[in-house]
Amino acid sequence: MKAVRIFLKIIYVAMPLTIVMAFLWAPPAALLGDASRILYFHVPIAWVSFLAFVVSGILSILHLSGVKKQNGGLDEKAYHSAAIGFTFTIMTVITGSIWARISWGTFWNWDPRETSIVIILLIYIAYFSLQGALTDNEKRGRIGSTYLILAMVTLPFFVFLVPRLYPSLHPDPIINADKKIYLDDHMKLTLIVGILSFSILYCYLFDLMNRILVIRKKIEEYRETSN
């Protein structure tokens, strides 16, 4: 675990490197110019939100299947992952809207991809509302995990199916029909570094939240024993 935490310190190098590569090293796109540089943040952030939701779903499956973990339940870890995913989804919407304003002239126009992301946001808002309504910890873990699994199985429909079924102004996704990335080599490398950096950032934040949870539990235990 210590080795993983030391590895996660790479984020202090990877994130500045991504910023430098995105703004100084990668060339601007032919038509969009410097505005295209938002790609190196928008795509990795969107990827991290998807990753975080999938991780929260997998942790929920493990929680319901009875896997026990020391220092904090898997349901709480799933909650943390969903919270990170939710934050990154909001950031995806913000960066996407800025990009939409530059290339389409409006911040929002209910494009199928925009519609999908709003539905995903609503699903996770519903999850947090449900968690808030459940007072018993054990019940919260079980029912919250069930909802997260339901949310995870509907994700492919919104992320992959809807944007491909309906005509969209959104540029071809990275995982497109031809399975090729149509980018200059410098741009491609910058994007890959961006995706890796943001993935490490996700792991870093996830680890940090789980460590805070452990500390909080230890404080609670200490209070209980001292009373």
């Binding site: 539905i119 519903a126 509302s129 449900l130 309504a133 069930t146 509907t154 809807v162």
Partner: protein
């Protein structure tokens, strides 16, 4: 298991039709909103898309008023513990699902003709229209059964059922609105792919719900 399902269904129908609380609330809501809309419109006809949107909004909120009742009632009356002891989670889920499907069918049978009468809806493709309404209603009932169980465990708090069901039901509502509008607008352009999708979505959500229900139900 079949015997358990039939026994639970018989009990649920008896208890519900003794008071008819959920059904009365759902139908009263549908009648009030439809007449209010018609009154506000003052005889001005809406476009097929708007008619379809309004019909599905009324169906959705009418359903939301009653579909959670089947589980919330068990928790309120303290009978859920007895039910947990006497029947398996699978048979309870199956019976509650069938009950919700029947409940939805009754709501649809009341709401749809009422809406068509008050909002002056002329349907061009009746078979496609009936298929769209039935397919959408079936999907709503199938998808919300497990949500109802979750809300009941959370104490059946206010509008929580609508909040947690709405995002999962959005694709169903979206496609139902499109197919219903298409059936009102023009004959001979039926897209049965949409109906197949609605059935597939219901089947998929029902299968996942069936697998997950025991974790929600058992304490």
């Amino acid at each position: 298991m079949v015997r358990d399902i039939i026994r639970n269904l018989r009990k649920d129908f008896r208890v519900e039709f003794r008071s008819r609380f959920a059904l009365n609330v759902s139908i009263a809501f549908a009648v009030i909103t439809t007449t209010a809309l018609s009154l506000a419109a003052g005889g001005v006809p809406f476009s097929p898309r708007v008619q379809s949107m309004l019909l599905w909004l009324i169906i959705f909120f009418s359903a939301m008023n009653g579909l959670s009742h089947i589980f919330v009632r068990e928790e309120d009356q303290g009978t859920s513990l007895f039910l947990r002891i006497t029947a398996s989670a699978d048979s309870i889920f199956a019976s509650k699902l069938i009950y919700n499907l029947a409940f939805m069918a009754i709501v649809l049978c009341v709401v749809t003709p009422l809406f068509m009468f008050f909002m002056q809806v002329t349907v061009r493709d009746a078979v496609y229209f009936a298929g769209s309404v039935a397919g959408g209603g079936l999907s709503i009932a199938a998808s919300t059964t497990i949500m109802a169980a979750m809300v009941a465990k959370a104490g059946g708090k206010g509008s929580l059922f609508t909040i947690i069901s709405f995002p999962v039901l959005l694709p169903v509502l979206w496609l139902s609105i499109l197919s219903t509008a298409s059936s009102i607008e023009s004959a001979g352009h039926a897209d049965y792919g949409t109906l197949i999708f609605l059935l597939a979505f219901s089947g998929f959500i029902t299968a996942i719900s069936f697998l997950l229900f025991r974790y929600v139900w058992q304490d």
